[in-house]
């Protein structure tokens, strides 16, 4: 059924990671992305990997779910690491078709890149698993506020994102219902060639569009009735507050970043 498609991946919980300020979590994710590229040898990368695994364990989200999100990008990981096998210096290990060489340097590159990608995915999965979509948009709105100087409609963008996220499950349910209704009238969506299948979508898409517009219209009306007039002078019911734990998380990350920089400078680089 359509409904089974997992959307957003929020996994409710009460772990320390869940309770961190979403702004801090987003900021730390960016910091992590930057530092995973600063980490240029196995020593510094080791710190990054240790960090992500520590957070995984603290997040209270079943590890199975992390594996699932890794599975989704398995192809990308395999593709890049195989490609990397053939680039790099060092002694030749295997020679393929006469001109392709797998070298020691290439193997190290492949392993290194794989670890980088996997840690990146795991870290961003932590963000989406432990932060609800509303928190995310809320935090994004707050973080993007400086862009207002450039006349970017930050509040409007955030509101649009919130509404879109809110209506995805509703629309999925509606799609389910319309599909059932058309199937009951003998609509055949499982067989036939490509053109036939595209045609079979019409009886579903048209009612879906019609009801989306109706919903959008109703929602706009309801918002107007409650005097919604955009972001100007609007206050929040749930104001984001940074707590001591957020400061602690920032400080801890700062310390690790310094360690990563130190290792990256002190030890020779691994990539060739």
């Amino acid at each position: 059924m359509v409904r089974d498609i997992a959307l957003g991946q929020y996994f409710p919980g009460k772990s320390i990671i869940h309770r961190l300020d979403p702004r801090v979590k987003i900021a730390l994710t960016f910091v992590y992305i930057v530092f995973i590229f600063i980490a240029s040898n196995f020593q510094s990368l080791g710190i990054m990997v240790a960090l992500v695994f520590g957070i995984l364990l603290f997040s209270g989200v079943p590890l199975k779910l992390y594996f699932k999100s890794l599975k989704a990008i398995l192809f990308v990981v395999i593709f890049t690491s195989v490609l990397n096998l053939f680039y790099g210096g060092g002694t030749t290990l295997v020679r393929l078709f006469g001109f392709m060489e797998i070298t020691t340097g290439g193997v190290i590159n492949a392993v290194f890149i794989t670890i980088r990608i996997v840690s990146l995915i795991l870290f961003s999965s932590v963000l989406t698993f432990t932060t609800s979509p509303t928190e995310l948009t809320d935090a994004l709105e707050r973080l993007m506020k400086p862009l207002k100087v450039l006349h970017v409609k930050v509040h409007e963008i955030a509101m649009m994102m919130t509404i879109a996220l809110r209506f995805v499950p509703t629309l999925l349910e509606e799609t389910d219902k319309i599909m059932s209704a058309q199937k009951a009238r003998g609509a055949d969506m499982e067989s036939g060639g490509f053109m036939q299948r595209v045609k079979a979508l019409i009886p579903i898409l048209i009612p879906l569009f019609v009801s989306s517009f109706r919903r959008a219209y109703d929602l706009a009306m309801a918002m107007e009735c409650r005097c919604y007039h955009g972001g100007e002078g609007r206050t929040k019911m749930k104001v984001l507050h940074a707590a001591p734990r957020d400061a602690a998380a920032l400080a801890f990350t700062g310390f690790l970043c310094a360690a990563v920089v130190f290792c990256a400078v002190w030890f020779p680089p691994a990539l060739s």
Partner: protein, 287 residues
């Protein structure tokens, strides 16, 4: 032979997850050809889940649905044929309309059956007449109709497939009192003209009492009662316990009876009036 039978029919949503919910629980039913069945039950009692299994939209978790004695899932590839035989009108069916004209939309179902174009149009026009849609409406866009007209067009779209069994999930929800009455009489006359089996889900005890031959009462996924309307609505205590009630007029007659009036149970206003008028006249003479 019964037209529809179920054997230990069970349906569980989200099987194998922590959120699993058994919505239909070992239901055994037998519905004869030509019956008009009223299906009632508290919200969430599994009515919609039950009926969606009868035309193969949901596949039972366990148990069987027999249509004319044959298991509908014996050949899963042929399930579409079952859907033509068991027509299903969903709740708020007007949201399924999509064609350019009302006539084309009504013809969508029969069109999928592989009939000739002439036959499809004949059926569509006949169905439109049965639900009381006038000729000039048929050439209009379905999105220009009023709510009640849309509802009728959607119902015609299912009737046009000429199913042996017609299932309607709360067809009168959201209609004004007049619209409800008209729609109900149309369903009754459809039932009389075609002689087909009809299953009607409704939250209105008055509607059910008025038209149903037999009443099927569901409670938390199980069949609580399945009997004639008189018998079901005479068990008002039990009905109230599972969040239902008897029609207002049935209750009034029961109260009169308990106060010593010589009246029998009545399911509709007309039945009650027929009993009460003579009594009141007599009372006036004596008084």
């Amino acid at each position: 032979m019964p037209v529809i039978e179920t054997k230990d029919l069970t349906y569980t949503y989200g099987e194998g997850t922590p959120f699993c919910k058994t919505a239909v629980d070992h239901v055994n039913l037998s519905i004869e050809k030509g019956e008009l069945i009223g299906l009632i039950g508290h919200t969430g009692s599994g009515k919609s889940t039950l009926i969606q299994q009868l035309n193969g939209l949901l596949r039972p978790t366990s148990g069987k649905v027999l249509l004319n004695g044959r298991d509908i899932w014996a050949q899963p590839k042929k399930i579409r044929a079952v859907r033509f035989q068991v027509g299903m009108v969903f709740q708020y069916p007007e949201y399924q309309l999509f064609e350019e004209t009302v006539l084309k939309d009504i013809a969508f179902g029969p069109g999928n059956m592989g009939l000739s174009a002439a036959e499809v149009e004949r059926r569509a026009r006949e169905a439109a007449e049965l639900v009381g849609l006038s000729e000039q409406l048929l050439e209009r866009s379905p999105f220009e109709l009023s709510g009640g007209e849309k509802r009728r067009a959607a119902i015609a779209g299912v009737i046009a497939m000429d199913p042996d069994v017609l299932i309607l999930d709360e067809p009168t929800a959201g209609l004004d009192p007049r619209g409800r009455d008209v729609l109900l009489s149309q369903i009754m006359s459809y039932h009389k003209v075609r002689g087909n089996t009809v299953i009607l889900v409704s939250h209105s005890m008055e509607d059910i009492a008025r038209i149903a031959d037999r009443v099927l009462v569901m409670n938390s996924g199980r069949v609580e009662m399945f009997d004639t309307a008189e018998k079901v609505f005479s068990r008002d205590g039990e009905l109230e316990k599972i969040g239902l009630r008897v029609p207002e007029i049935t209750k009034i007659m029961a109260m009169l009876k308990s106060r010593g009036w010589p009246v029998a149970t009545a399911l509709t206003l007309e039945q009650a009036v027929r009993q009460l008028i003579p009594l009141l006249k007599k009372g006036a003479h004596h008084g």
